[in-house]
Symmetry: C2
């Protein structure tokens, strides 16, 4: 018998666009937070297992009107930018960094400040249903350790990286690594810190090698971090072909696209998360696919900082790994369910086009849309695939990272589970997320 | 001394993009719900008026961290579609009407059903801060009266119309008016019902003449409703150049655009609300501007049903009246603050373009963006201007329709009121709306 048993109707997407409905499923979770089995009411041992769990006090039964979903995976969060959420979206990316973002990130030299901000961020994300967060911290080793500690303490699955950025052309003197060597040494020390943390035996928090973006890093730094990725096998995260400026900058400096340049440095691996990818070429998709790397699609910040929309349909059709990111605070919404809606919305605008003064045939990209069940897959199983972790699906062998969600508009429920799923994707807010588990532990409400 | 006095920091936009901050303002409201005066702490009678209001029990002081905003105005709501919110957005407008929308609207022949649905809708909108709602009901006179009654009972300012639609080519036999004559007669009877309602002495609920859209109406019906608009001076609402299909349909049938055709029928007046307007021409803008009519910009449904983005920047620059609409349920979000964000977002995508495979110069419409303070103006004073009503601003002579809003992220407040305003526009949800007044009466929490 399991450590925890949860009984409720599961809605999830084992493959892009494939909605799976498991009515009144019984999920048995072992003491390590791994799903042992998912039983249907028609299974012979269902009644006995449910009764046994009830007697031992291990059973959680979802009330009518709630559904059980896999936890949300946010592949791209700039943790220190939490305090500028919803502000400063009036200038292009290159100005946004200098005017708003670097000055704010520099403040995380102050540990007490970092602790207060990161505690607010992680607890808010858990309340929003984000069971796994992939974080860029700041350049500061101490504050980055604080972020990892807070994720451990509050129970979130997290991938955390000390940001590495040393290029004097882009990074101001008051906010950059002292040298490529020091940035690499500090990154290495942070990897060791996370791996050796006494509270992290299960590896719920993982370190990520984090070159901010090619324009912010010297080639020396990229080489050192690539070597570190090869040596340690750690995850890697960076930005990739985010905007006209960023994409063109790399083309000019390296004579090739971000993805191909990252590959040269050993930074395009099975565990690499590429944020944005707005301007990816077909050759990039081939390279990213061959490496088994994946994209963090950040649809809201597409509208503010990317100059175009990530071609999610094209990437899915290429079979390249992808998930979703809020891009806090280039995106102003801290919810991955909201990010699903934005992903559907921008895909529809990419499909239809936006400029009514053009003839229909010249306006958009026919067939570019993604459906709600595809956005949901990106937010869950797709994100798990990008990270090479057994998360994003409620199935045997996966971690029990899950949400109990009240279906919006439940008082007028038609009984159609497909409608319920759409209402969750399009309308569920923080108030509908009633319970959140990570690794089988209840982490929200606190 | 007023009937009500509210003290707090006002954030509002008297003109598009012009953010006005009135710290610790004291708003005195008379017994009819009209603002008598707005005093600043530096005004000589501020202290005495505040003290007098306190002694008489009329004073409401906003706690630190809350701001006072004008109420939100939603110019386009399909009330019966409330129950399909967040579902059925997978097909084009013409199919969406036949497959999902008309069958649902037809159910409002059942009064008990209508009462339950409309009560849920209106109370939700009030909780979301919508102090004025402009409603398309269904074709049913009885259910439309129910909607007006519910708005009266729950305290919302509302403009309500019985939908008129009689064209046998678009409207199914089981959901259309029996004849143009009957539709006009029923519209006339509904106007009289609202005007003579004993609970509506102040005229807080107004009737609207509501030809659904040109494709759904015969010319006979459009003529009769135009005559009724001329005779009664009532508001008019209809759809206008919403999508490729709708715009082209009218061009083919009438040899001219929606706006110009509506003008011929006497349906383009100072009190006409044109939903969408996605494909408006410059000649349309001249005609709409000359008539003093206005647009309900519905940015979210632009992405699903309109095939392009409403050119809000161009319309503002033309000086033509405009406000915002949720377009429930062609839009899946029932909040006008969320609609502000969507309006900013789609304007940015119109500006940048969406298709990364095009060169930057061919991708978007430079200069098409609107700023948060312009979206907020559309949601408040702009909507009031469209409706020709003294709402959307907290100033002498205006109705006291207002919200007390907790500023999101307040625990990290920088003290910058501009940042606070942006955080309200980009991040405030239902949980931040603490108190709602219409005509000086507290209507939420109930």
């Amino acid at each position: 018998m399991g450590h925890l048993a949860v009984c409720g109707t599961i809605l999830q997407t084992p493959a892009p666009g494939q909605l799976q409905i498991l009515p009144d499923a019984l999920v048995l979770v072992d003491a390590d937070g791994v799903i042992e089995t998912v039983l249907a009411p028609t299974d012979s041992d269902y009644a006995a297992e449910k009764q046994a769990a009830k007697q031992s006090g291990a059973l959680v039964e979802l009330p009518a009107g709630q559904c059980l979903l896999p936890g949300m995976i946010d592949l791209h969060i700039h943790a220190p930018q939490w305090l500028q959420l919803g502000t400063g979206l009036d200038v292009p990316l290159e100005d946004w960094l200098q005017r708003y973002t670097f000055p704010l990130e520099a403040k995380y030299a102050d540990i007490a400040f970092a602790r207060r901000s990161y505690t607010s961020l992680v607890s808010t994300l858990l309340a929003n249903g984000t069971t796994t967060g992939v974080y860029f911290a700041s350049i500061h080793p101490a504050a980055t350790r604080v972020l990892a500690d807070i994720c451990l303490a509050l129970g979130q699955r997290a991938l955390v990286g000390k940001v590495a950025m040393d290029h004097p052309d882009l990074c101001p003197a008051w906010y950059r690594d002292a040298s490529a060597a020091e940035a690499a040494t500090e990154t290495r020390a942070f990897v060791d810190y996370v791996h050796s943390n006494a509270g992290n035996d299960s590896g719920r928090v993982l370190p990520v090698i984090t070159p901010r973006c090619i324009p912010a890093c010297t080639d020396d730094l990229l080489e050192r971090l690539g070597a570190l990725a090869t040596e340690t096998g750690c995850h890697v995260q960076t930005h990739c072909s985010e905007s006209d400026w960023e994409h063109d900058h790399v083309l000019q400096r390296h004579g090739m696209t971000d993805a191909l340049s990252l590959r040269r440095f050993g930074l395009l691996t099975r565990r690499t998360v590429l944020a944005h990818g707005t301007f990816v070429t077909d050759a990039d998709l081939d390279a990213v696919g061959a490496a088994g790397a994946g994209f963090a699609h950040c649809p809201l910040s597409n509208a503010y900082l990317s100059d175009a929309v990530f071609p999610a349909r094209r990437v899915l059709d290429h079979g390249v790994h992808a998930g979703l990111g809020t891009d806090i605070a280039g995106g102003h919404d801290a919810s991955i369910l909201a990010t699903c809606r934005h992903a559907v919305m921008v895909s529809r605008l990419l499909e239809s086009g936006v400029d009514a003064s053009l003839p229909r045939g010249q306006r958009g990209r026919p067939g570019a849309r993604i459906e709600p069940a595809e956005a949901f897959w990106l937010a869950t199983a797709g994100g798990g695939q990008v990270l090479d972790l057994p998360i994003g699906l409620l199935a045997p062998g996966y971690r029990f990272d899950a949400l109990a969600v009240e279906v919006p508009g439940n008082e007028f429920d038609s009984g159609d589970v497909g409608d319920r799923f759409q209402r969750i994707v399009f309308n569920a807010g923080r108030e509908h997320i009633r319970k959140v588990w990570v690794d089988g532990a209840a982490v929200h409400p606190a």
